[in-house]
Amino acid sequence: MLEITNLHAKVDGKEILKGVTLTVKPGEVHAVMGPNGSGKSTLAHLLAGRAGYEVTKGSVTYRGQDLLALAPEARATVGMFLGFQYPVEIPGVSSMYFLKAAMNAQRKQRGEPEIDAMDFLAWVRDRLAKVKMDIAMLHRGVNEGFSGGEKKRNEILQMLVLQPSLMVLDETDSGLDIDALKIVSEGINAMRDPGRSILLVTHYQRLLDYVKPDQVHVLARGRIVKSGGPELARELEEKGYGWLEAAA
């Protein structure tokens, strides 16, 4: 279970999050929606452990552990995965090597042996098919020269390969055409199970037609101003965010 309690955070001295409280139980999918500048990406990166954020109040725990006390790599080891809004290009580091290094780093931290090379290849091939990516792409540098949609599919591939238990997907649906959106959604749905929690951070309701959330939260000006069922997303699509921002 992910528990965010009264989270306040500053970036460059400016308060961006002003008391976010949110609980995602195992097996649940929550969506955090909101206008640009509402603090969605700050929340996502804060959960993943990016440097440069100052938490001034509140807490974040996952499975009872203080998540904020952990380095980004330690959060990955306890099951956290952030799908980046803007995945980083790392020229020269082959995706295949990167995936294997990531998987073995996490296994090592958990005291598990390194994965057998053939087992790993089979594991990756199976997941590549799910996101309709060609293995040739994995011989290129990480995200090197990938289109926007390819980068997002690569995020989903990494998620499927690493099998995290807590997924925060930051605008993974932005900039995708419908075909790519379906592929990404199928990837997310494949990860839904009673042991896993998913937090979808999104600007658009469209993703939620394919991935049905258990709860929808609206983040505006650093606070969650409204929570509800999937119907809230539809309401937002029709009315926009203005009515809620005014209320915040």
């Binding site: 980004p72 790599e73 956290m80 790392i90 780093a105």
Partner: protein
């Protein structure tokens, strides 16, 4: 001549080419001729080893038929004669002398030069490599040593006749208290080609001069390298490529990875002489500063006296990409592993050009403690 006299004549920092590399400390020390040493020397699969220990041919190795161990003639290539060559010529007793007849090739050579054993010792080697018309050879120069405070010089004279090709890849990892001056002078005749990829990974102070003269039309040279000093070390690579004839091609790519308190110097001079039309020259040097207190001096220099040439150069200097580090960490790699991965990649893009696989793997393994 005594060693102290020769040292007193070495260039000072008032000489432009030596402004970043100060040899004045050598004059305050008393060096003695290196005595015998018996280090364990590495081998590389598929290469014929020729080893020199402390300035002498290693006795455990039979000299190959092509003539290493003979004292090369002095004074043949004195166009850039200076006090380093003078010192070396006065004290070098031996070195590799390789003469390849026209249109022949040979087993790749693993030229091991090991300096150390005697505290405050000094030793010198002078090698000569001549490839006749159409000959081709591949040499891996492997420069090593132990932790004894030591002073070493090496001079390598290379002459490539028409259409000859030589690849001289290098793995340089002297001991942490070694001062080493290495000078390579290469003359490249018409349509001949010289390639060198080097890993420069150690020595208290290691200065490398690579001077290449493209003397005939269509001559080509490629010089590449990675400078990876340990903290406290000073690595200096000076290249000088002279285009003396038309249609010459030169390529240079160097990368520096510099930790705290270390210094890397790259100076790349490209001269295009009058009449060297259609010269095609490119030079890149990219540096990563890994900690506060790291220092890099990277300077491309172009001197062009012909009017129909293509010459490009670029230098970049930066730090590891924080976004890339963060991305790797969110996937589970810890900070040291993420840094090492990015640094390894940065260096490998050069070192992967080392042609012989055993040498390439050795270079990568030698680099690993620097990451």
């Amino acid at each position: 001549m005594k060693i102290a006299e020769a040292i007193a004549r070495l260039p000072t920092i008032e000489v432009e080419e030596w402004r970043y590399t100060d040899l004045s400390g050598l004059a305050k020390r008393e060096f003695v001729a290196a005595g015998p040493a018996k280090p364990s020397l590495p081998t590389l699969d598929g290469l014929e080893r020729v080893a020199f220990v402390g300035g002498a041919l290693a006795p455990t190795v039979a000299p190959p038929t092509s003539g290493p161990g003979a004292l090369p003639q002095k004074g043949n290539l004195s166009q850039n004669y200076d006090s380093v060559i003078e010192l070396n010529a006065a004290f070098a007793q031996t070195g590799l002398a390789l003469d390849l007849p026209a249109n022949t090739t040979r087993t790749p050579l693993h030229l091991v030069t090991w300096f150390g054993g005697t505290p405050e010792g000094h030793a010198h080697l002078r090698h000569r490599i001549r490839l006749a018309r159409g000959a081709s050879a591949s040499i891996v120069l492997h420069e090593l040593g132990d932790d004894a405070p030591f002073f070493a010089t090496q001079v390598i004279e290379v002459e490539l006749a028409e259409n000859a090709t030589l690849r001289l890849d290098r793995i340089q990892r002297f001991g942490a208290r070694t001062t080493a001056l290495t000078r390579i002078d290469v003359r490249v005749a018409r349509d001949a080609r010289f390639d060198s990829v080097g890993l420069y990974a150690g020595g208290a102070l290691a200065r490398n001069d690579l001077n290449v003269a493209l003397e005939g039309p269509g001559a080509q040279v490629s010089l590449e390298g990675v400078l990876a000093p340990a903290p406290g070390e000073h690595l200096d690579v000076h290249t000088r490529i002279e285009h003396r004839a038309p249609h010459g091609t030169s390529r240079e790519a160097f990368r520096c990875l510099v930790p705290a308190k270390a210094r890397a110097i790259f100076n790349g001079m490209v001269m295009v002489r009058e009449g060297a039309q259609k010269t095609d020259s490119e030079q890149h040097v990219d540096s990563l500063l890994l900690a506060p207190g790291a220092e890099v001096n990277a300077k491309p220099e172009l001197l062009i006296l012909a009017d129909d040439v293509r010459c490009a150069h670029g230098a970049t200097c930066g730090q590891l990409d924080e976004d890339a580090l963060y991305y790797l960490r969110t996937r589970g790699l810890d900070l040291p592993a993420a840094r090492a991965l990015l640094l390894r990649t940065f260096a490998q893009e050069i070192l992967n050009h080392i042609a012989l696989e055993p040498a390439r793997l050795l270079a990568l393994a030698t680099l690993e403690p620097r990451l």
